[in-house]
Amino acid sequence: MRGKPIAMAAAMLGLLASAGSALAQKTSIQAIEEYREMLQDGNPADLFEAKGEDLWKQKRGPKNASLERCDLGKGPGVVKGAFVELPRWFADTGKVQDLESRLVTCMSTLQGIDPKAIINGDWGKGERANTTALATWIAAESKGMAFNLPQSHAQERIMYQVGKRLFYQRGGAHDFACASCHGEEGKRIRLQDLPDLRKKPGDGIGFAAWPAYRVSNGQMWSMQHRLNDCYRQQRFPEPTFASDVTVALGVFLGVNAKGDKSAAPTIKR
């Protein structure tokens, strides 16, 4: 530091010092809670949110258009409240779509961006990274709102049933299912409590917590990325981006979370 006397410096070191001395008297759960509390202020998801908002309004792609006419389920251009009602059935595509598969549709129809660039792309790169930033901003616009996925269309109810079966389907080298980790209360992997996703997990937990910024690797993760990595950890073949499998699981988790308030974008270990 070569600051003038008027300046009082840097919080990062201070935080570590104060936490260290207090750790000994606390249970590990309390210490984890405290660590999470410290992360809350200054969630870098804010940066992705800003990028996403900009991408929504910017004229881009071969058709040089913005996404402001994109219909996320509540009419063209309506963003607020859209996140907590997705995935849902869309008449124009004749499919049940989650936020990201819907964004792929909008980016290709409105902007002329090749959907393959997103679907076959890499996490954190190019148009797929843009999709994640857009999802982060769109989710943030519904922060604090309660999930209320529609189940009025027959396809939506079918997708719920498909998602439920996928959730309990065991397979892969470890004979795992989603339910192996998320089908019981009070489980934990390292620092992360595992929500019981068979039922309503509570405000800001499980489906209501993503997109999230991962501190450990500095990456912004969307729900698609979360589901993909759950499958990878189970040693399943990784599902295709925005595929029906991921959407069906989204419907199952989202409908179960009915009434839970969205906390996205959140910050994770």
């Binding site: 008027i6 202020d41 870098p44 800003a50």
Partner: protein
Amino acid sequence: MADPMRIRAQASGDKATVRVLMSHEMESGQRKDASGKLVPAWHIQDVTASLNGKPVFSCEWGPAVSKNPFLQFAIKGAKAGDKVSVTWKDNKGDSRTDEATVS
């Protein structure tokens, strides 16, 4: 060009607390890519802040600071309406300045 910072500055009592989020890769120069080649260091080196144009804070950063870093500090004597400006420069010569009003 680098993405914008998020700066919040809030006055309470005789000081203002400034919270800054910077968008930066902060590559340490220690990591290797998939082909085994060292990823060159790319990180912020200098951070400065000023209050109404007058320098109040400066520090030197190295490769140990995290990706998308968060910085918090307090400025004595700052009042609501004052302008706080923060600048970073990285080792590739890129820089970014953003400003916020104390609330």
